[in-house]
């Protein structure tokens, strides 16, 4: 595992850059555990101060220190992304492995449902949930709903790998040895799909954090909970750009782009690691 990591850092510039970017953001977000102020309180400092040695990222019109505000926002958003990714990974692994290994009508039914989920435009659905739940729509509920929509692409990917594994020698050995389906899937097949799970994990985080930003910017989430999206929501509602409080928008946007680029680079470089053909191309063979 460490050797793989070392090779990736050494030979894959995308992976190294991605790791650095995500690393910076994660460290920044973890600082929120040591925050001297409660990020949900307002008018704690002088509003509208530009970045200075005292307020590194300035303060906003709501009298919040942007450094600690953003640190908490990124922590919440990353936790949110990880929650959605973990939950939807569980669904996609279960569906993908079952569909690929059991086959037959189980496969057909699961893939039919899969295709339905692919076709439903998620954004109107999320807006609908907000319309119904209003401020009861907290991060966890939102994460649950998104997890229900975030699995079908990856389930299909895992299924295709599982289809290949089904006909391999070791699966037959396991079947003859009397292993149960559950045991075969968990102990024999799961390790093979783990690399895909990791790479889609990053992509899924990108997707869910992006959607959360979108919803929050429109005010369609609990706007009192600091996240990447709600920071932008408040900046917008105070017309930060127009009144000249540019740091309220520019700094979060820079951090968001860093996060997204970093996660994306990690995802594609891991993809490349999984697909030996693209690795060969890189070596010039």
């Amino acid at each position: 595992m460490f050797a793989v990591l070392r090779d990736l850092i050494r030979y894959n510039i995308e992976f190294a850059i991605g790791l650095v970017l995500v690393g910076i953001v994660v460290v920044f977000a973890s600082l929120s555990f040591f925050a001297p102020v409660d990020p949900s309180l307002i008018y704690m400092t002088i509003p509208d101060q530009p970045p200075s040695p005292q307020f590194w990222f300035g303060t906003n019109s709501r009298g919040q220190d942007m450094f600690w505000q953003l640190s908490a926002a990124f922590r919440n958003s990353l936790v949110f992304g990880i929650t959605v990714a973990v939950l939807s990974r569980i669904i996609s692994i279960t569906v993908g492995l079952l569909s690929g290994y059991v086959g037959g009508w189980v496969d057909r039914v699961l893939m039919f449902i899969n295709d339905i989920f692919v076709a439903v435009p998620i954004f109107p659905v999320l807006v609908l949930f907000y319309f119904v739940l209003r401020n009861n729509l907290d991060s966890l509920t939102l994460a649950l709903i998104m997890a229900c929509f975030g699995w079908p692409f990856d389930a299909r990917l895992i299924r295709s790998v599982a289809l290949g594994l089904k006909h391999r020698e070791f699966t037959r050995h396991a079947t003859f040895a009397g292993m149960s389906t559950r045991k075969i899937l968990l102990e024999e097949h799961l390790p093979y799909v783990m690399p895909i799970v990791f790479s889609t994990f990053m992509n899924n985080m990108l997707w869910s954090i992006g959607l959360e930003v979108t919803l929050a910017v429109l005010g369609f989430t609990n706007i009192n909970n600091p996240t990447i999206g709600t920071v932008l929501y408040w900046a917008n509602s105070h017309s930060a750009m127009v009144v000249g409080v540019w740091w309220w928008i520019v700094i979060p946007v820079i951090l968001i782009v860093m996060t997204f680029l970093g996660l994306f680079l990690l995802a594609i470089s891991m993809n490349e690691y999984i697909d030996p053909r693209s690795r060969l191309r890189r070596m010039g063979a």
Binding site: D115, P121, L128, V132, G210, L261, L263
Partner: protein, 334 residues
């Protein structure tokens, strides 16, 4: 031919299932909500002027009848489907008494136009450039393109739209940043109107194109770099088949087959993107309508927009799927 009918039948069944589940979900989510559409409507209508209590009671009765909310859930559900087939989802509160369906139909062309325009541009440009990049892998220009699209691809629609708004709205104000056309032109098939519509569509579609482009570029580049190693490409090169024939008819043509499937699968996401873009640029499409409806608590309108958008995306996917056998003769014969 038989294979094609089989394919169409399977897809049509899927379309019906998607529409059925999507619309049902929309119905149940809204009807299990604590918000009463009747009280919401009453509150809105009585907010500005004083009504006699009898008048309010009469209105409440009329509204209850109109929404049919005093019936059991199941019969409401059946009624909902019947009204949907008649294209009547009740009046909108936002623009009472205009039927919600009328508002949806008015907004529809804007969204469809924006979606079709940007999807076609993105798909064609992304695939052509991605294909060329995959075919000539050591070209510096395409390498730079790859890095740029890699950087753009993961950024959320909202951020891209917002950055465009800042650049073209504040830093270098050359393009209209709000609305579907200028206020001083009258709608019609006149040049000033059309050019105004096109100008107003530039920024919204640009934000969709910028986000979507990278995915097609990177996807096509990866596909093509696999297709070029196929025997039929090597053989055609050996036979001295013209280069542009090889690139278009052999390499890209084969790589396009999986890309079309990908197109069908991304339409739902692109629709979500248009909602955001429309909101940022105040574009008079379905997205803006949905957001206004949510903010106004307009029950019928939210229901109408969600239902129609689920159905519309499903139909769009169906249409793209129908094109698939035209690209891949192997599906036709199966």
């Amino acid at each position: 031919m038989n294979g094609y009918l089989w394919f169409v039948g399977k897809r049509a069944l899927q379309l019906l299932a998607v529409v059925f589940f999507g619309v049902s979900a929309t119905f149940f989510v809204t009807h299990l909500s604590p918000i009463s559409p009747v009280e919401a409507a009453l509150g809105r209508m009585t907010a500005r002027s004083n009504f006699a209590p009898e008048a309010i009671a009469a209105m409440r009765e009329a509204l209850t009848e109109m929404y049919g909310v005093n019936e059991p859930l199941l019969s409401q559900y059946v009624n909902f489907w019947m009204r949907l087939f008649r294209g009547d989802l009740g009046p909108s509160l936002l623009a009472f008494p205009t039927p919600a369906m009328d508002l949806v139909m008015r907004a529809m062309p804007w969204t469809v136009g924006l979606l079709v325009l940007s999807t076609i541009i993105t798909f064609i440009v992304g695939n052509i450039l991605g294909g060329l990049a995959g075919y000539s892998q050591n070209n510096k220009f395409f390498k730079a393109f790859g890095i740029i699209s890699m950087g753009l691809q993961p950024i959320p629609y909202y951020i891209v739209a917002f950055i465009l708004l800042i650049i073209f709205g504040f830093l270098w104000p050359v393009l209209p940043i709000s609305g579907g056309f200028a206020m001083n032109v009258t709608p019609g098939w006149t040049w000033p109107f059309i050019s105004s519509v096109l100008q107003h569509a530039i920024l919204p579609s640009m934000s969709l194109v910028l986000v979507g482009f990278g995915g097609w570029f990177l996807g096509m580049r990866a596909l093509v770099s696999n297709v070029v190693t196929e025997d039929y490409v090597t053989y055609a090169e050996l036979a001295g088949v013209r280069r542009h024939t090889i690139v278009s008819g052999y390499v890209m043509r084969n790589a396009l087959v999986p890309q079309l499937t990908a197109l069908a699968m991304t339409l739902g996401g692109v629709f979500s993107g248009t909602v955001i873009t429309e909101q940022v640029f105040n574009y008079p499409g379905l997205g803006s309508l949905l957001i206004d409806a949510v903010n106004a608590g307009d029950y019928s309108l939210v229901l109408a927009v969600s239902t129609i958008s689920v159905a519309a995306v499903a139909i769009a996917i169906f249409v793209v799927d129908l094109l698939y056998p035209l690209l891949d003769p192997r599906v036709r014969a199966e």
